[in-house]
Every structure is written in C-alpha cells, then in structure tokens.
Amino acid sequence: MITKVLATLAVVITGAILLYGTADFPAFGDPNSPASAGVEGGAPSISQYYITKSYDDTKVPNLVTSVLADYRGYDTMFETVVVFAAGMAIFAILRVFREDDDGVPNATHSNGNSFTDGDHSRIIVGTTVRIVVPVIQLFSLYVVAHGHHSPGGGFQGGVILGASFIILALATDLETALSRFSEKSYFALAAIGILIYAGFGVLCQVLGSDFLDYGVLQKIFLTDGPEMARSHSMLGVEVGVAFTVTGIMFAIYANLSSRGTLKSGL
C-alpha cells in the first residue's frame, strides 16, 4: 500500500514537473522561436540553414532524410544501435535452449508444402501470402532506396521487410519462416547493418576527415563534388539501418510468439 502511494506520488510529481517545463517551450511552429529565427545578434537559425542550404549541401530533396542521415548522422547511428540493443535484450530475456521446454504444445508440422497443407483456411491465407509477400518485399526495397527522394528510408523500409517475414510466419508457421530467415542470419543481418553504418563513419576518418563526414567520400564514389558523395553515403547508411531493423523486427516476433523456443509459435 505504502509503495503504491509513493509510486503514485513520484509519477504525479514527475508529470507535474514535465508539464511545468513545457510551459517554457515556444509555441508550436512559432517563427520567432530561437530554433526557427536564431538568436538576435548571436547564432543564426539552424532551421533556416537546413531549409535553405541542405539541398545545395547534399543534393537530397528530402530535407528530413538529409538532417537525419547526414547532419545528425551520429544520432541516427545510435538510434540504430538502440534497435539492435532491443533485439539483444529480447534474446537475453526470452530465448531458451532447453529441449524439454516447449512453451506451447507441439503443432503437427508436415514436411510437405506448408502453404497449402491442411484445411481450407490455410489454402486461402497461404495463397494470398504467396501473392502478397514478394510485392511487400519489393515495395520495402523501394522505400529504402527512395528514402532520400520521397518519404521513407531505412527504418520504414526495414520495418516493412521485417513485417513480410512476420506475415509468412503467421500464415504458415514459425519453422517455415525460420527456414528462410534463420536466427543466425537475422542476428547477423542486424549486426552487419550497424557495421555498414559505422563503417561509413570510420571510412571518412580513414580518408582524413571527421567521423560520418560523408563529403570526403567523393574520393571513393568518384563524384564531381562532396554533395553527391553525401547523397550516396546517405543511401548507404539507410541500407545499413534497414538491415538492422529487418533483423530485429523478425527476431522480436520470433522470440515473443514462441516464448523464446523458436518452435511452433502462433
């Protein structure tokens, strides 16, 4: 009882302080706020800089992507690491390796065509999934590759790609999905994604510039100037993000749905 009262008190006080803090924020979209207008006689506005200069700097029409993947690339790299850490935490908490601990009763698993075996319902859902999953995967690649020209990017495309494997696991069973995208490969994919992202950063250092300062990569991409090199590098790191998100999405589903046994989940 006393703990509940104390916990409620802590939550209420924290919430009140946070609400009090929001009162000092500039109004939403206020053009005179320091972020939008800069400080008088001091720093110029960073928003104005992004809006007016980002296309000249990076040749990326999607302003959000250029801020996310280039100007604030360091932040986004660790966002990807957070996703990876979430997958690792799921693995550490849920994954069980004991043979006797099935978690769920064994579903009968035939070796035939697992899409259309069994009763009518599996035929309908299985056929639809067979038609739809390739389209979803193609669309996810489009979303990843088009991230710097239109809404999209690594996180969104990775989620769509991961979801396509989840649909496969839902429509058939977890073993079928795991036979196409095994535990080894999804965690390897997730780790490779972060390696790609960090590799771009280290590559910039090797070529004599700062971490994630893509402009210097024009020596490798053989582009006319640093702008196009930054654009290409953004695509590269988006691919890395997509790898990580894809792997971890499916890792979380596989572990949660089978209580960590990776056997006959939902």
Partner: protein
C-alpha cells in the same frame, strides 16, 4: 468537368458503403455478422474511393506524351486497389476462422433451424 462529376459520384458511393459498414459493425448481433459487414463494406468502399481518386487524376489529361506522369499516379492507385482487393477479404477470412477455432458461437434466431449452432466447436 464530366471527369470530376464521375469521380465525385464514385467517392460518394464509396462513402455510403463506408457508412453501411460502420452501421453494420455497431448493429449486427454477433461476431460473424459484424465481421461480414466490416469486411465487405470496407473493401468495396475503399475500392470505390480509390477508383474515384484515379478518375479525378484524369481531369488534366491532354495527351500521352505530355501527361504520362498522371498515368503513373493512376497506376499506383490501381496497384493499391488490387492490393486491398486481395488482402482485405483475406484478413476478414482469417479473423473469422480464428473466431471459429476459438469457439465463438454464432447467434441464431430461436425460430430458425440452422446447422451452424451444432457445427460450432464446443467450449470446454
């Protein structure tokens, strides 16, 4: 002009089916009939509204060489329609099947004979 009128008619028809689906979800008595209202109404109305959008895109169409970009938009809308046409009924079916396997009883009027009540798996 005529294109706009056609598209408005299509979108309005879609909205009417949306309304029907919403009313059905609220008014029908049991899980299966509610799902049937949601599944059918949702699919048809989405298709009609998207078709209306596609027709609306044609309003500035002059010649193929000048306005082929419009056709690209229409192609994307049709692709979305095809996707909905396949996935929406399937998801309704999968939900229905899950309900049946989970032993959700269909509601059957007292004075009607129907085998569904006996066929439904019994709750333990």
């Amino acid at each position: 002009m005529i294109v706009t009128v056609i598209s408005v008619i299509l979108i309005l028809a879609g909205l009417i089916f949306f309304l029907g689906a919403a009313v059905g979800v609220i008014r029908f008595p049991d899980f299966y009939t509610r799902m049937h209202a949601a599944g059918k109404g949702d699919t048809l109305s989405s298709l009609l509204v998207l078709l209306g959008f596609a027709v609306y895109q044609l309003r500035d169409f002059e010649s193929f060489s000048e306005s082929w970009l419009i056709l690209l938009v229409i192609l994307k809308l049709i692709a979305i329609s095809a996707f909905i046409l396949i996935t929406s009924p399937t998801s309704t079916h999968a939900l229905m099947d899950a309900g049946w396997e989970d032993k959700v009883k269909p509601e059957i009027a007292k004075d009607r004979s129907n085998h569904l009540g006996e066929d439904c798996p019994k709750r333990k």
